[in-house]
Symmetry: C3
């Protein structure tokens, strides 16, 4: 899939500096570039490293000078590099067809260009729209619906009646549509509250390996367009997530949490049940947003979540605490000594 | 599965107010009820919302008045609603039989009414009792034993020789019987301590998606009757869990922890190795019960876990800490100024 | 697999005390030993319990006296016991061959003695070296390479082009080679940064159930020889882990973290992106090592991670904080009273 520097520049709307006819066959990190490869340099800090490596072209910000090395100049080098990578290393498109070992129930419907991998299972009345890829060992249960050009990797489960939008990508081990954790406690123990809702996922959503998304109890659990979820995340029943959110690994969203648009949740966070995170909220890593609480747009830190300045001030105060306690004891002794000057 | 209000009332031991002959075909949340549907109202707070929706019947506490809307009156509306939902929306019972693509080793034994789904595998000498459902792609390894009417969803693994009670439900991606994390450290590195125990799960246990339960090193890991476990929980080797416990998502129980009956562990908790939680302990979210420590019945909060009042007092104190440190500095200055009144 | 005490002693380089001809057929925990079984006693504390049980032989430290019970005397009884267990309870070796229900693509290559279990899938150009065991339902994607004598349990996924060393053990539900969580944020939302690297795992690595290991963005994610990883751990893209590390359950390592040799990370820890843990670092449970920070060898505690003494001092100070705040208020009142002695 080799392309010239000029071709790549045109694809990303960048300007060529130096020889545009150089052939590029692959992308590399700045420190590992080799002849025939292209790298990117986001900030001046990494320019020296990139020039010391031997890439045949660098994608750089207009403010950076690459000397004799051919360059593609753009305002956002990382974004341009991502697009160049996709052009140079397109994802292998599995061939249309159902593998001989896969099982597609007769009542299921497959669109054009659908690939169903080895050992996969498509249940009764399930639907895969045009261009869908179903990886090896993946299970699409009864009545589930997979939107156009979605890509389910190996060993995914999409539960009964769940609905995925277009261009959704589910990584291996994802479970969509497991029962929510709902019980009614009574004298004899726990009685299960039937989990009858579904999961509805928008377009361009990506979900990381072994993440779990429970179906709603009565109404659906919903994930909006463009939201990206990392590995080992827990999304409980009835959660509502807006558009273009980022949710990092090992975070957990408890039942009926409501997340706005462009919310960012870093790693190992907790969002309590019925908690509201309004548009643009950022939870820094390990933050715990308390149950039944509304958080306006802004950056939060700590457990419980506080506006980041306040959270940082508290953390700094705890660092100084052992010294402060000693100081307090000394001061107390001094005051007492003067009170009782025997 | 439509039923009359009177039929549903009889099923849950409730009293009918209004027209008992109304036909109900489904359940809905209080705010979304439509004609032909039934909802429940647990407290007066939600009555207005429920009446504003158009459900044909409400399940309510005797103290609530639903006006012209037919009602079923019971002491615990949520519990009654859960039972009504189960009656109106029975889980589809997969047909008896082994799917043509499933593999059942000749030495395995299947009871009456067993369903083995597509691409599933039942290993040598494994046993599935009457009424068991094995979901698509699920693996029951050699010698494992699945009790009567248990339901294993898609892509579950039950490891060799593990034993499940009756009416156990394992959600997709659950792994029962992986090796415990046991090594002996020596000069050359780590030497694995063989993990030879099994996992023994009681009756009416439910386990959430992608949760992992390790086999014991020598003796079994045990989970008691009626215990419910959420998604992405880690149960390490040799853990002993009592009856009717609730363990919420992303909590982790380290090796040889001992959990009593009716213990409740909220989300993202940690229970250290050899820790004891006695009957009735409640760990609030994110609490960390220290290793080798016994916790008597009661509510705990914090890391490390403290009785909740104490934990809350500490958290509140940390909130006030930045102010307190400023106050301390001021006070110190003042005392010093009086000591050295130059 | 019964052996005499003398045979077992020879195997572990220990000395026999008492009758070496006693036949041993299995291992048991100290408190549950029965005739014909062997147990071990690491410290004097457990000797009484072990002697009260009825094991036919005890493995003990030279300083312990087992009276009339035959003993094998070694410097490290637990290590010797682990080796004795392996001799008495060898893991069943699945027979060579490809199960009739498994699929091996024609371009894949299998070494001698390879077992491919039921419903497994080996993709194009994948390679399994001699002695590899592929469990039921496991997927080895295109171009992946599994080293000699590795053991993949049921329902594992090894992603395209990933490389495993020799004697690697992956437990059920493990996902190796899922895409890293990399996006470039721009006005229109998130653009995916292609994840083109692989995962390279050394020899003698063990990975616990449902753990996820992402492929690198450009260069590989790497795990060194002898490292052991527990269940539900997240290893993000580009992470570099050294040799003989131990990483406990539910810990998460963010992108590009660099972990040295013999590092120990206890349960539910967080390691930030680009964080460096040098050789011999120990993170105690729940510790959070901050992003872009280097941690020299030593024991750390807390969030953020601090040298353990400092972290413990802070935790103790927080415990005393509510009292200290009361004391501060009292002192302030007293000082003020003397300043304004009206």
């Amino acid at each position: 899939m080799s392309q010239t520097v000029s071709q790549l520049a045109e694809r990303v709307g960048g300007q060529v500096r130096g020889d545009g006819s150089v052939e590029i066959h692959g992308g590399a990190s700045a420190e590992n570039g080799k002849p025939g490869e292209i790298s990117f340099v986001q900030t001046a800090e990494f320019l020296k490293t990139a020039l010391a490596a031997r890439a045949s072209c660098l994608i750089v910000h207009p403010s950076l000078d690459t000397g004799s090395v051919p360059a593609i100049v753009v305002d956002d080098p990382k974004l341009a590099f991502a697009r160049v990578l996709r052009a140079l290393h397109p994802r292998p498109a599995p061939a249309e067809g159902v593998h001989a070992s896969a099982v597609v129930e007769p009542s299921a419907t497959l669109g054009r260009g659908v690939h169903v991998g080895a050992q996969a299972y498509i249940g009764e009345d399930a639907r895969c729209a045009d261009g869908v890829v179903i990886g090896a060992g993946t299970v699409v249960e009864r009545g589930a619906c997979i939107g156009r050009d979605s890509y389910l990797h190996s060993r995914v489960v999409v539960g009964a009646d769940c609905v995925l939008g277009e261009r959704v990508e589910l990584h291996s081990g994802v479970v969509v549509g497991s029962d929510g954790f709902g019980y009614v406690t009574h004298a004899g123990g726990q009685e299960k509250f039937p989990q009858l809702g579904t999961v509805q996922i928008g377009d361009d959503v990506e979900v990381g390996a072994n993440t779990t998304i429970d179906r709603g109890a009565l109404d659906p659990t919903r994930i909006g367009n463009g939201t990206k979820i990392d590995n080992l995340v827990q999304i409980a029943h009835n959660v509502q997530i807006g558009e273009h959110c980022l949710i990092c690994a090992q975070s957990g969203l408890a039942g009926s949490a409501v997340i706005g648009d462009r919310v960012m949740i870093l790693g190992q966070c907790a969002v309590g049940d019925h908690t509201i995170l309004e548009d643009g909220v950022i939870l820094t890593a390990r933050t715990a947003a308390l149950p039944h609480k509304t958080h306006a747009g802004g950056v939060y830190f700590g457990a419980p979540a506080r506006p980041i300045k306040e959270g940082m001030r508290q953390m700094a105060a705890v660092t100084r605490l052992p010294d402060a306690l000693r100081k307090l004891t000394r001061l107390e002794r001094e005051v007492r000594a003067r009170r009782d000057p025997d």
